[in-house]
Each structure stands twice: as C-alpha cells, then as structure tokens.
C-alpha cells in the first residue's frame, strides 16, 4: 500500500501548558495532532504519578505527524512553549497513509 515519508513528533508537557502548545502548533501550520493522557513519569524534576496530583496538574503527551519539510517550524513553535517548562520532545521518522491529510 502506498505510504509517504513523514515525521512523528512526540511532546510530553505539563497539562496546564497543553492549550498554549496546541495553539502554538496551529500557528506553526500543523494540520493535526493527537493528545494522549499520561499516568506518571520521572525526569530531572523528580518522579510523579497521576495519583499524587490535585487539580489540573500532571502531564500529557502530544503526538504530531507532519511532512518532513514542516518539521523545523513545528520544533521552533514547540520549543517556544516547552523551553521554560519541564517536558521532553522526540522526533521519529515514519510513513503515513493518505498523505493528502498532512
């Protein structure tokens, strides 16, 4: 089946920042993204778990499939938001069906 090269960007970020990140992504011309819940994790700022949270805290994972040429825009936009906050950004090569969607 016909597939097309693309990049899969995965951004783990604090929940209160979610809205700001997605807005930044849209401004950067991202056509779509998917948000996954996160149960917990660990990093330089220590270990945490959903259960240990009150209110809107915790983190989410934002997954974004884009055409390779759009990657830099996206990373700049994402970095602008993540920069001063805890969280991680990873990029993977992938193939997508229905490239017209991206």
């Amino acid at each position: 089946m016909q597939t097309h090269k693309a990049k899969r960007v995965e951004i783990v970020i604090e929940a209160p920042l979610e809205g700001r990140l997605t807005e930044a992504l849209m401004r950067a011309g991202v056509t779509g993204f998917t948000i996954l819940p996160v149960l917990g994790g660990s990093g330089r700022s220590g270990q945490w778990s959903r259960e240990g949270q009150v209110g809107r805290s915790g983190m989410v994972a934002v997954i974004c499939l884009i055409r390779p040429e759009r990657l830099d825009n996206l990373l700049d936009a994402a970095f602008g938001v993540v920069e001063r906050h805890i969280g991680v950004v990873s990029v993977t090569d992938c193939e997508v069906l229905r490239a017209e969607r991206f």
């Binding site: 920042l17 959903r50 805290s57 906050h85």
Partner: protein, 329 residues
C-alpha cells in the same frame, strides 16, 4: 484555653479528620490504597456545589446585608496583601530565591476551599451559624494573591521575562478557574431558588455531606502523604516553621478584618480560616504557567504537606475558639 482543647479533641476525633490521618498514614506506609482521580474530582465538585448552594440559600433567607460587600472587599485585600508578608518572611526565614519565594507567597494569600469546608463542618457540629456569603468571599480570595506574586516577581525582572508573568490568557484562566465558577455559580443558584430550591435537593447536598467529606479527606491525606514521602527532603526547618507560622498570621489578619466589619462568630472563624489556609489547586496550576522556574515541589509540599494538615488539625479549633470568644452574635 480549656474550650480550645475541647474543640481540638472533638475535632481530632471526628471521622473527617481521622479519615485524613488514615490517608496520610497509608501513603507514608506506601500502601497502594488510592482514590481514582475522577472520583476525587467528582467529590470536590459535589462539595463546592453543596457549600455554594447552601450559602446562596442562607443569603436568600437572611437577605443581602451591607456587610457582604465589605467582607468581600476585605477578602480581596487580604488575598492581595498576605503574599507580601509571606514573601518577606520567606526571604528572612528561608533560603528560597525570589521566584520560589513569590510562588510560595501566592499560595498563602489564596485559599484552600477544603479547609474552608472542613471548618464549616466544625461550626455545624458546634451549632454555630455563619454568614452564608462567606463562600462568595472565599471565591473572591482565590485570585488576587496570584497577581500579587506576579507583581513581586516582575519588579525583580528584566523586559522579556517580565512579559512571561503577564500572559494574555492567564488572567482569564485565573478568574474563570473551575472552582471559582462553580462556587459562585452554585451560590447564585441557591440565591435564586432559595428555600424551595433547597427543599428539592436537600437530601442530596445536606445529609451525605459529612460522609463525602470523609472520603474526600481520605484522598487528600493520600495525596499529601505521597507528596511528603517523595519530597519531604525539600523542607528545611525554616520552611516548615513558615508553613505553621504563616497560617497564624493569616488568621490574625482575618480576625482583625472580621472584627472591624463586625462579623458573627461563625463568619469570623471562616474569615480566619480563609486567611490561614493556602491554595494547592488553582494557584499551583497558575504558577506552572506564569512562573515555570519556581519549583512546584516546594510550594505543593509546603501547602499540602504542612499547612493543610496544620490548619485541619490544630488551626481550625484555635480559630473557632477565638472567634467564639471575640465574635459578635
């Protein structure tokens, strides 16, 4: 004195407090006991709705007094003013940097609605009535402290960074924070529907209230315990001292304001509690957005792990006893 001890023991041996202790103990012992996040959130919605609605109906019954406006104003001033005191104390008592200190200070100007609810339960148990509009005061006190903290920080900052504090959407987010909207909204609903409205949902919002509060505090204990388990290392002696001194200062400020306004004993106690309590929901979320450099572990552990238990166990009885002595009728 004796009455303080009486109230304190009655309070400490109430199911509500013992549930908190149970949760705290279970978490410290690393039990896997946990309340689902959705259930905890549902309970907090129930509690906010119930006290808001009851407050509204009681105002509907007694009519809106002039003191309502005065008390709300006092609350706003307290919420905006206390962070400056807290910030000063923190710089003296602890080694926290400017940003961390400001973030912590914001929490102490704002309020903990659960502490407020627990206090209303204690008042009820002692048959002391309070002004229904105190819930509106509580709502009014959530946000100003955040602005105070941002202002403190921005004063110590250069251009581009100052921008950060004053994020476009942030103000709206703070004012339209879910708990504020629900509290004010249900207060207004209670105000509109009054006694007949209350009659229709009384068996939902009144009778099970204490029981729900028990399970909610069980979860609060679990959360506080988990926080302490992981991060207690962060708490220097100075910080812990601050976590117990600041509530007393906040309560004193609340007491002074309340006496000036001439609140009833119940209202006085609640204003003291609002002054004394520290936020751990609205403010932390706002701080992550506005002051990401501030270490969340510090303010969360301090507010939830030190001040919340302190108010819940020792603070409230003291505030109530003082209010009963000094408060009007």
């Amino acid at each position: 004195m004796s009455d303080i001890i009486a109230i304190a023991t009655a309070n400490l041996l109430s199911p509500v407090i013992l549930c908190f202790v149970l949760g705290l103990g279970a978490a410290l012992a690393r039990s896997d006991l946990s309340v689902p996040e959705a259930a905890a959130k549902a309970m907090s919605i129930y509690l906010l709705f119930a006290i808001g609605f009851k407050g509204g109906t009681s105002v509907a019954a007694h009519g809106i007094e002039a003191r309502l406006a005065a008390t709300i104003l006092a609350g706003v001033i307290l919420s905006f003013g206390l962070p400056f005191i807290a910030f000063g104390l923190l710089r003296v008592m602890t080694r926290l940097g400017r940003t961390d200190a400001a973030a912590v200070a914001a929490h102490y100007g704002s309020i903990s609605i659960v502490t407020f609810v627990a206090a209303t339960a204690v008042l009820e148990a002692r048959g002391i009535a309070a002004e229904g509009y105190m819930v509106a005061v509580a709502a009014a006190m959530e946000a100003p402290a955040i602005l105070a903290a941002l202002w403190i920080v921005s004063r110590g900052r250069q251009g581009e960074d100052r921008a950060a504090g004053t994020d476009a959407g942030l103000l709206r987010e703070i004012m339209l924070n879910g708990s504020i909207v629900l509290l004010v909204g249900s207060f207004v609903i209670g105000l509109i529907t009054g006694a007949p409205g209350l009659a229709r949902i009384e068996s939902f919002i009144v009778s099970p209230f204490q029981g729900v509060l028990c399970l909610f505090l069980l979860d609060m204990g679990l959360v506080a315990g988990r926080g302490l388990r992981g991060r207690s290392g962060l708490l220097s002696g100075g910080l812990i001292a601050f976590g117990m001194l600041m509530p007393l200062i906040g309560a004193a400020a609340g007491l002074a304001a309340g006496l000036l306004i001439g609140l009833s004993a119940g209202g006085l106690a609640l204003l003291m509690v609002l002054g004394a309590s520290a936020s751990y929901i609205a403010v932390p979320a706002a701080m992550r957005v506005a002051l990401p450099e501030a270490n969340p572990s510090i303010y969360l552990t301090l507010s939830l792990g030190v001040t919340f238990p302190f108010n819940l166990t020792l603070g409230i009885p003291v505030y109530v006893a003082l209010a009963e002595r000094l408060g009007g009728v």
